[in-house]
Amino acid sequence: MTRSLVTRMMVGAGLAGIGAATIGNVRQSTGAWTPAELATLRSLSLRSLEPLGADASNRYAGNVQAAALGRDLFFDTRLSGNGKVSCATCHVATRDFQDGKPLADGVGRTARRTMPIAGTAHSPWLFWDGRTDSQWAQALGPLESAVEHGGTRAQYAHIVAEQYRAQYETVFGRLPDLTTVPRHAGPVADSTARVAWDRMPAEAQEQISRVYANIGKAIAAYERRIEPGVSRFDRYVDVELAGAPHTPESALTRDEESGLRLFIGRARCVTCHNGARLTDDHFHNTGVPLPAVTLPADSGRAVGGRQVVSGEFNCTSRYSDAKPEDCEELRFAVTSGPELIRAYKTPSLRNVSNRAPYMHAGQIASLDGVIGHYAAAPAAPFGRSELVPVRLSPNERHQLIAFLGTLSGPIAVPPGYDKAGVPRP
């Protein structure tokens, strides 16, 4: 993009922020948005969130008893190598199901930032690199990661048999006989557990892996009920679409409104942060700097794309309940090409203000830093950044940050959970 184009675009944006008048304490919609802009606002609001369809790969996704089991497993620290780590250790229910750390800490330190959970059931790809294609397959990755839960699938099968047998068998049917199954065995990094796994008969391995897959399916049945809740931005859009006066609960300040206008306009955030979850569910190299600490080389989707198509628990796997034709995202996935190098999934922006630090390894500490990064559009450490520079004044950066704050809201509370999404005792 040339400088002259940028200049012309800035002139066009000079009208931002004059879209509402204040009458008493309540701002009045003045119809300042064009019909096309209103359509864009509507597309970003929760009223456009697509209904959550069935997960063909998980026939238990809508099963309430599976969700209850999944909820219990999610918070159970016994599902770890040291007895201290649960899913909730990093996906902290009271913090939008994330941990606020640059890199997650399980039994060791990981190489990635914890992602929030709300709304992920809508996403075709999970993890920053999309290396799994369902919530249930995602849940299984950390459980056998040496630095996250640090356990093995045989261990988890034993725990389910000992602690959750009735719950499990009500949903999934009879557990296999575990009498001869080692306590710790799985295709994991730990050599002792791996050797134990390799010595198991193939049939026993398959039985244990099926229990393991069902653990993931139960956790997914719980997680898919965690949805984004209504934010002030959503209420604002409702009122704008109705052409009605704003209430204090729906009004945006002038800065917030100007930030919204930049977001869908000249700053072009909406290009990738589109739809009601404010993500295009795709992968982009945006030239994010290398982490301050030395981590293993990370090529993002270039690796994740290959991993998902060969994934042990993907949509077309023997543990999936889907027919191959149901797995369209996987069948037509892009799995090679330079665009995938160091490309990471566009994160949802819902609750983004409450979720520092940012980027896939928490490289940027503040939203101001993030916006500064996108404005400057530096070259990527490797691969090719898709960004082009955008000139933003300090006030415009402030306005964008103000707008992003309006995307905060509680998670949608499933029945039986408190307002933070924690199951009631």
Binding site: L5, R8, M9, G12, A13, T34, A36, E37, T40, R261, I264, G265, R266, R268, V270, T271, C272, N274, G275, D280, D281, H282, E328, E329, R331, F332, A333, V334, T335, S336, G337, P338, E339, E386
Partner: protein, 152 residues
Amino acid sequence: MHSPHTSRSWRRAPARSAFAMAAVSALAMGCGNLRADAPSPDIQTVKASTHHLYRASVRPDVTPIPVRRLQRWTLHLETIDGRSVDTATVTMDGGMPQHGHGLPTSPRVTRALGNGDHLVEGVKFNMGGWWVVRFAIASSAGTDTVTFNLGL
């Protein structure tokens, strides 16, 4: 399909094409409006192929074409003199010339439906703006390409 060479070709397109430059200007004038990203000319869904061997048309299964949702298209092929083409090898690629990236999926023509119709599966667009999709067609009538522009 979706090879490195394909991706680079989409990146070069704006610099070579007067049409593309017009679209860039339209973008600059219309910021804030996703639909303004669409190029103004040449958004027909019935097109002659580059060397006029074929006439092709596309019909999405959902209109208006949605963003972020997988869709199926029907590609209709006939020779330029109007004979249906049922036996052909067809590949599809595309991208966003202004953004320099390809399609988010690898769509494929999966079967012939008869009467010159061919089913295209795995079509997806992950953002609004100007998209270009191109079919490479090989049949007994010869090898050619046909390109469609989309404004989402």
